[in-house]
């Protein structure tokens, strides 16, 4: 029987309560929401917090809405809620593409968007997605609220910019009218972590010239979950197969996968390139260039 080691448990009644508890207990306190990453890690003693702060009652941290030209996703939003959100799918189909392949429907009822991002697992799908989307993370702590661009959020495997006494409260994705987006993943079986995955968001101008592009990579060793070289290659180019192939080659060359039970380095490198091409192709097909 696997059970966690001893810990104390508090159910938070407000974000301020969370911050006060985190301040009092220091880095030995952990926030728990869905618990589908943390509780398994506690069973294995990979995590051994002294205090769990349960945020499941903080309904103000849940929900998906459009406010001031941004898609706002509360940190406590369950994966199933994001997958069911029509407004999320309408603006960014990449979110639904990814949610459909995250774990399984029962786990998605419990696991949260914020928990996944804060776990910062190199194989976690939404980290690459929100990086591609140039999302802004809203973090609250003892000194109030601050924002962190997603591309400065990840500090390495399982490390983020969220300080020990802070809590991620919201993710804000700037709306991009006409942009297309997509996420593609290769996994061994339903519900498994990615062998590799790629996401893309593409904005097109007249003549289908790429005006802006974001690429996210999952499980191929990029601590910041992106492929800047591939993005730089594409910007200003016509969105065609040659341009996608060049971007895919750049993503493949610059990623740093490691061999594990899901595959050897050369296979993952191949996937990073091919999946980047497929994500770009699908994203561009969903984009409108403003001329029709």
């Amino acid at each position: 029987m696997q059970v966690p080691a001893f810990f104390e448990y508090q159910r938070a009644t407000s974000v301020e309560h969370v911050v006060a508890l985190l301040e009092r207990f220091g880095p030995e306190a952990r926030i728990v929401a869905g618990g589908h990453s943390l509780i398994p890690m506690m069973k294995l003693r990979l995590a051994q917090p002294e205090l769990l702060v349960d945020v499941n009652d903080l309904h103000e941290l849940s929900g998906v809405s459009v406010v001031d030209g941004q898609l706002r996703i509360g940190a406590l939003t369950r994966h199933a809620e994001l997958l069911a959100s029509a407004v999320a799918g309408e603006h960014f189909p990449i979110l639904h593409d990814a949610e459909r392949v995250i774990a399984d429907p029962v786990v998605r009822n419990r696991g949260t968007v914020g928990g996944s991002v804060c776990q910062a697992d190199p194989s976690e799908d939404l980290s690459g997605v929100f990086t591609a989307l140039r999302t802004v993370a809203v973090v609250r702590g003892p000194d109030g609220e601050r924002t962190v661009p997603m591309r400065e959020f990840f500090r390495g495997p399982y490390e983020t910019a969220v300080a020990p006494a802070e809590i991620l409260v919201e993710l804000r994705v700037p709306l991009r009218p006409g942009a297309g987006s997509a996420y593609v993943k290769v996994d061994r079986r339903a519900g498994d972590w990615a062998v590799a995955a790629a996401g893309a968001v593409v904005s097109l101008g007249p003549g289908r010239v790429v005006t802006e592009v974001g690429i996210g990579l999952t499980a191929v060793g990029d601590a910041d979950f992106t492929a800047v070289e591939a993005e730089d290659l594409l910007r200003g180019e016509v969105a065609d197969e040659d341009a996608f192939a060049a971007a895919g080659a750049a993503a493949s060359a610059h990623c740093r996968p490691v061999a594990d039970q899901r595959g050897p380095v050369d296979y993952k490198r191949h996937l990073a390139g091919e999946l980047t091409v497929r994500a770009l192709r699908a994203a561009a097909a969903r984009a409108h260039d403003g001329t029709t």
Partner: protein, 157 residues
């Protein structure tokens, strides 16, 4: 903590590290819920919490404080077994029976939300449940059978 399980309120003093599956099985003696992989992969421990299927090996019992839990024991009503249970029997939807409680709870929720699911939708719904007898074909057939039987019962044919 206080939790309503199958309509009955239970008050217990528990360690924070107690998992919901063990509260149900060991404290409340509701052993219909099975405890399988312990890693939220197999789905044998699936119960409903506040109306949604969850894997109770990855929920702390204290997280259910003030909430309502439904287990496989609650499927049977005053007039006998739930249709999903009858259909699993009729279609050989179980062999060893270990995954069955989780399959039943997920399938019941699917049919409540979507009374006429396709085979693809059924397979997607149970994709978080592992049947080591690999009896998936009959499980999918059982869920379809229940959907048809319930549609006939409602008269919407």
């Amino acid at each position: 903590m206080g939790v309503t399980v199958n309509g009955v309120e239970h008050v217990r003093e528990v360690e924070p590290r107690l998992l919901l599956v063990h509260l149900l099985r060991d404290e409340l003696r509701l052993t219909g819920t099975h405890w399988g992989c312990d890693t939220s992969n197999c789905g044998a421990c699936t119960v409903w919490m506040d109306g949604l299927p969850v894997k109770s090996c990855t929920v702390l019992a204290v997280m259910a404080d003030g909430r309502s839990v439904r287990t496989v024991e609650d499927l049977e009503g005053p007039f006998g077994l739930d249709q999903i249970q009858t259909s699993f029997m009729d279609c050989h939807g179980l062999q060893c029976g270990f995954c069955t409680p989780g399959m039943l709870m997920t399938a019941r929720k699917l049919l409540d939300d979507n009374p006429d699911p396709t085979d693809t939708e059924i397979r997607e719904a149970i994709s978080g449940q592992i049947c080591r007898c690999t009896g998936y074909r009959n499980i999918v057939a059982a869920v379809r059978h229940a959907a048809v039987a319930e549609a006939l019962g409602r008269g919407d044919t």
